[in-house]
Every structure is written in structure tokens, then in C-alpha cells.
């Protein structure tokens, strides 16, 4: 069972602010998501390991340097930037 406390805790871990009046609705939604996953979990699999559904293993890159992106491009989606850094404002 998903509880209000679970939702509050997940919000805290995700650094999200959830208004009091939305807690019940979110708790219900989250329960539905978990139930959906349970349906999949309950499917009979005869104990087979589905970690690697396509049976792939050892997909590697070789250790060869590829040119990095231009700093401007890297920062282009940043909400705020300064001196070639991503800038994170302190909201507290």
C-alpha cells in the first residue's frame, strides 16, 4: 500500500514541493502505477531472468577519445549559466 508518507518522502528525495491538497490525489495515482507494475510482476515467467531480455552482454566502446562538444552548446539548455558553468541558485 502506498501511503501519504511515502509520497511525502519521495517528494523530499526528489526535492519537489507538493502542496497539502495534492497529496491524496498523488497517493492514489502512485498506487495505480504500482498496481500496473504488479500486473507485469505477476505474469508467469518460470523463474527466467529477464534482466537481459535480448540476451545481449558485453556491449563495449573502445577507449578512444572523441571530440567533446563546444562549451556553448553544452550550456545551451541551462536555465541559467555564468562563467561557462551551469548556475544553480540557492532557493533556501
Amino acid at each position: 500500500m502506498v501511503t501519504r508518507e511515502d509520497v511525502e518522502n519521495i517528494a523530499l528525495l526528489s526535492k519537489l514541493f507538493v502542496p497539502e491538497e495534492e497529496l491524496d490525489g498523488l497517493t492514489k495515482s502512485m498506487q495505480e502505477i504500482i498496481d500496473f507494475a504488479d500486473t507485469i510482476n505477476n505474469a508467469p515467467t518460470d523463474g527466467e531472468d529477464f534482466d537481459d531480455i535480448n540476451n545481449l552482454s558485453n556491449v563495449f566502446r573502445e577507449d578512444v577519445v572523441v571530440e567533446s562538444y563546444d562549451t556553448k552548446e553544452i550550456l545551451s539548455n541551462a536555465p541559467e549559466q555564468a562563467e561557462d558553468h551551469f548556475l544553480v541558485r540557492n532557493r533556501e
Binding site: 518522502n9 523530499l12 528525495l13 526528489s14 526535492k15 534482466d51 537481459d52 545481449l56 552482454s57 558485453n58 556491449v59 563495449f60 566502446r61 573502445e62 577507449d63 578512444v64 577519445v65 572523441v66 567533446s68 562538444y69 562549451t71 553544452i74 550550456l75 539548455n77 555564468a82 562563467e83 561557462d84 558553468h85 551551469f86 548556475l87 544553480v88 541558485r89 540557492n90
Partner: protein
């Protein structure tokens, strides 16, 4: 009551691969901010990480070097946390199936510090806190790390110090990292608790972070040990928390309160497939491993008759031991080679950094040649020593300074002549000796040595001179 310290280490080591763990960006230290980045290592949605083969191979080397078991099957997991140093809000790491299981580091007191496991993971970005805001540089984000997790087997500050030094030494030997604590390529978190001596039960532990040298680790542990003992003695109890060490004040302070104790919600990373390491790959990597420092040290002591203390100096850095190995080839007395290195050569490589690089003007082959001249009795120790100084000054070989006539023993007649010359040429010393000044004989022998260019046997010369003086 007396208390015992119990500590375990989590040691992060940056691997010296050319590229990051999941993309082809360079791992070079420094560089303009955010200039070693791409969509994969800044964690943009829709990108696909692909594991660097060399990271797995380096980690296997690390595992073999500490006697760990290489897992045939291992997997990558996501460790979820929200912090600006990690733009994806999760770190790709290993929890459920790490690459290396077990292993140990043996200390000089014979105790083995057991390792729980070693896993591979990505490093986070660098944060610069300024005026209450945070500036983020992701150049370090995605640099490959191994994390070596020990069991709580460490019982003293000295053991802690040696454990870190041994790890540093062996990881440098096998060439997987430069392990520079000041630059952050080796970082230690220490879990520490105390308990009454004799007790088997573990006390509540705290975790200390943010120590950038072995000395700081020792100081932080000392402080934390005293703090915990004080707490308990005064009827309090230790709270499980993460502490930050401040080397300016030599104190620890709370970094995270208990309320936001982490829940990382680990789960398998669906972007990355299973790592399957076959026995053949392990054997192949094993065959490329150098002789490890502990084995080398033992061999020097047992087979080459090098004193233990000297053997430790010779094996501290890989380059010194390789130099020594080469210089020893075919010589009768490895101890002589060792003495030249630890004596004259170490005087010219004074700092630890110099010793690590061990860039010496004289090649090991040149030293080998010099020692063989000494071995064969063609020259004497004094001449060898002074010649080595000249070689170190010039980078030239021994034969540049030793002529044919310097080599080979001095024949009897020549020695007789030289002794006669010394007696006749130094009447004052002869007089002094006759008047009972024993030491005066030394200056006469010195004269013979000088004129024979170090070839004369000083004991023989002394007896001849005594006879001459009568």
C-alpha cells in the same frame, strides 16, 4: 575503561583511461569548465551510455592486485539522488552484482584487511559554491572510478595509514591510476566506531568525508575516536551520521542530518547490458600484470639478501624497483647495487615525487656496468663511488672516467714504489708516527691510495709502510 577503534574504508580511485566510462570525452584533469562534455556525460534525456571496455579491464587488474574474485557476471545499477553534481539525478554504479568480490590488503603486522567488494561507477561533476549559489563543471562527470569497500577490519590509526598507502602503492604499480589524493584521483571515506576493548559487538558508526591526504585521514580519525569515546564516557551515545572533516580546525562537523538519511532506491540500469567476464579474459589480463610490490619485496629479501628496510625502499615505487631489477642483471652482489641506489642516487632524488618519477642521469645499464667492474675486482669501492658521482653529474658511462690503467690489480713492485714514495715524501708524518701518533700512518696510506688512483689495497699498503718505517 579503554576503547578500541574499529574502522572500514570506502576508497574511490579514478581510473587512468583516456576516455570517460560511458562516452568518448577525455578524462584529462583540468581544462576549461564544461569543455570535456557531451550529451551523454551531462545526462541529457535520450542519450545512451556505452561502457568503456578498458574500465572493465582496469578494474579487473585492481581486483587481481588485491586477491579479489572476478565475478563472471556483473551488472550496472542506478543510484538515485538529487544533487546538482549529478545532472541525471542518478549515478550509474554497481550494487547487486559488482565486478570484484572479496580480496584483502595485507599489512606489515601480518593482519589482512578484508575487502567486501570493488565496483565500477561514474564520477560526479565538480561544484563550486560562491555567494550562496552553485557553479557546476561537468568535466569530471563520467570519469571512471572504482570504489574499494573494505570490511570494518582496521583497528588503529597506523593500520589505517598503512592500508591507504598499500592501496595507493599497488594501484600505481599496476598502472590503473596515479592515486593523487591532493588532485582527488584517490579519495577515502572512513566509517569509524568505538567499542570497549574485548567487546565483539560493533558500536554505532559515523562516516567521515572530505579528507585529501593520508595525514588528514589520520588526524580526522584521531579526532573522531576521541569525540566518540568522550560521548560514551559522559553517558551519551553516538549518532549515525555523515561528517565533514575540516583540516583548518582539525574537527569534524555534521554534513547530513538524520532526517534526510538517504534512500537511493537502487535498481538495475536498463540502458546497460550485463558484463560477462570469461576465464580466458581474466587469464589474459593476469599475464600482463607486473610483479606486485609485496611479492617483489619478499623476493629481494629472500633471494637477493637485501635487508628488509632497504627492500621496502626499493619497492616503494615501481620505477625504482624496475631500475634496480635492470641494474642487478648478472651482478654478484645485488646489495652493492641497492647501496648505490639508496645512497648516492637517492641523494639526488630527494622528494617523494622525484623518487616516484625516478628520472636518473645514469641508466640502469650504466650502473650495471660499474658494479660488474667492481664485482670482477678490476676497481675498488672508493673508485666506484667517486666514478658514480661523475656519472650522475654527466650522464656518461663508467668507462669515460676509468682508464685501462685504473683497472687490474696493482703489481707488487708498483705498490712497493708507491709506499716508498709516500714515506720519503712525507717526513713529518713519518716522524709523528714514530713519536707514537698512530693516526699519522693513515695520511701515508692515503697518499698511496691517491697516487694509485684508488687501486692499492689499503691494508696491504699500511703493513708495507710500517715495515719501511721499521
Amino acid at each position: 575503561m579503554s576503547y578500541e577503534l574499529v574502522a572500514g574504508f570506502e576508497t574511490h580511485i579514478e581510473l587512468a583511461t583516456k576516455t570517460k566510462i560511458f562516452c568518448g570525452c577525455t578524462t584529462k584533469f583540468g581544462g576549461a569548465p564544461n569543455s570535456h562534455c557531451c550529451p551523454v556525460c551531462i545526462g541529457l534525456p535520450g542519450t545512451l551510455p556505452k561502457l568503456n571496455r578498458e574500465v572493465v579491464r582496469y578494474a579487473i587488474r585492481a581486483g587481481l592486485a588485491v586477491h579479489g574474485e572476478i565475478a563472471e557476471i556483473s551488472k550496472m545499477d542506478r543510484k538515485n539522488y538529487c544533487y546538482p553534481d549529478l545532472s541525471k539525478a542518478y549515478q550509474i554504479s554497481q550494487l547487486y552484482a559488482p565486478l570484484i568480490i572479496g580480496g584483502y590488503v595485507e599489512l606489515s603486522n601480518g593482519r589482512k584487511i578484508r575487502l567486501h567488494h570493488i565496483h565500477i561507477e561514474e564520477d560526479a561533476g565538480k561544484l563550486i559554491h560562491q555567494h550562496g549559489d552553485t557553479y557546476v563543471d561537468y568535466n569530471r562527470g563520467g570519469v571512471p572510478l572504482i570504489e574499494i569497500v573494505s570490511e570494518p577490519d582496521i583497528r588503529s590509526i597506523d593500520e589505517a595509514r598503512e592500508y591507504v598507502e598499500k592501496l595507493q602503492q599497488v594501484m600505481r604499480y599496476i598502472g590503473i591510476s596515479d592515486c593523487k589524493m591532493q588532485e582527488g584521483s584517490m579519495r577515502c571515506d572512513v566509517n569509524i566506531s568505538v567499542r570497549p576493548k574485548g567487546s565483539e559487538k560493533l558500536g554505532t558508526r559515523t562516516e567521515i568525508k572530505n579528507m585529501n591526504s593520508i595525514n588528514n585521514i589520520a588526524k580526522a580519525m584521531e579526532y573522531e575516536f576521541e569525540r566518540q569515546v568522550d560521548l560514551i564516557e559522559n553517558g551519551g551515545s553516538v549518532v549515525q551520521e555523515t561528517l565533514r572533516y575540516d583540516d583548518a580546525t582539525n574537527t569534524t562537523s555534521s554534513m547530513r542530518s538524520k532526517e534526510d538519511a538517504h534512500d537511493y532506491r537502487y535498481f538495475r540500469d536498463p540502458d546497460l547490458v550485463t558484463i560477462h567476464v570469461t576465464k580466458d579474459v581474466v587469464e589474459e589480463i593476469k599475464s600482463t600484470m607486473p610483479e606486485l610490490p609485496a611479492d617483489k619485496c619478499r623476493r629481494y629479501i629472500d633471494e637477493l639478501a637485501i635487508p628488509e628496510k632497504d627492500a621496502q625502499l626499493l619497492t616503494k615505487y615501481r620505477r625504482i624497483s624496475e631500475y634496480f631489477d635492470k641494474a642487478c642483471e648478472g651482478v654478484k652482489s645485488p646489495k652493492t647495487v641497492s647501496n648505490f641506489i639508496i645512497g648516492q642516487i637517492f641523494r639526488r632524488t630527494e622528494t617523494e615525487a622525484d623518487k616516484e618519477i625516478f628520472d636518473v642521469a645514469v641508466t640502469p645499464e650504466q650502473l650495471n656496468e660499474l658494479v660488474k667492474l667492481l664485482d670482477s675486482g678490476k676497481i675498488r669501492n672508493n673508485l666506484a663511488k667517486s666514478t658514480l658521482e661523475k656519472m650522475l653529474d654527466s650522464g656518461k658511462g663508467a668507462l669515460e672516467f676509468i682508464s685501462e690503467s685504473d683497472m687490474g690489480g696493482l703489481d707488487e713492485n708498483a705498490l712497493n714504489d708507491l709506499c716508498k714514495q709516500a714515506v720519503e715524501g712525507n717526513p713529518k708524518a713519518v716522524e709523528d708516527y714514530k713519536n707514537g701518533k698512530e693516526k699519522a700512518i693513515k695520511s701515508l696510506v692515503g697518499n698511496v691510495m691517491k697516487n694509485s688512483r684508488g687501486k692499492a689495497d689499503p691494508a696491504l699498503a699500511e703493513s708495507k709502510i710500517k715495515k719501511l718505517i721499521g
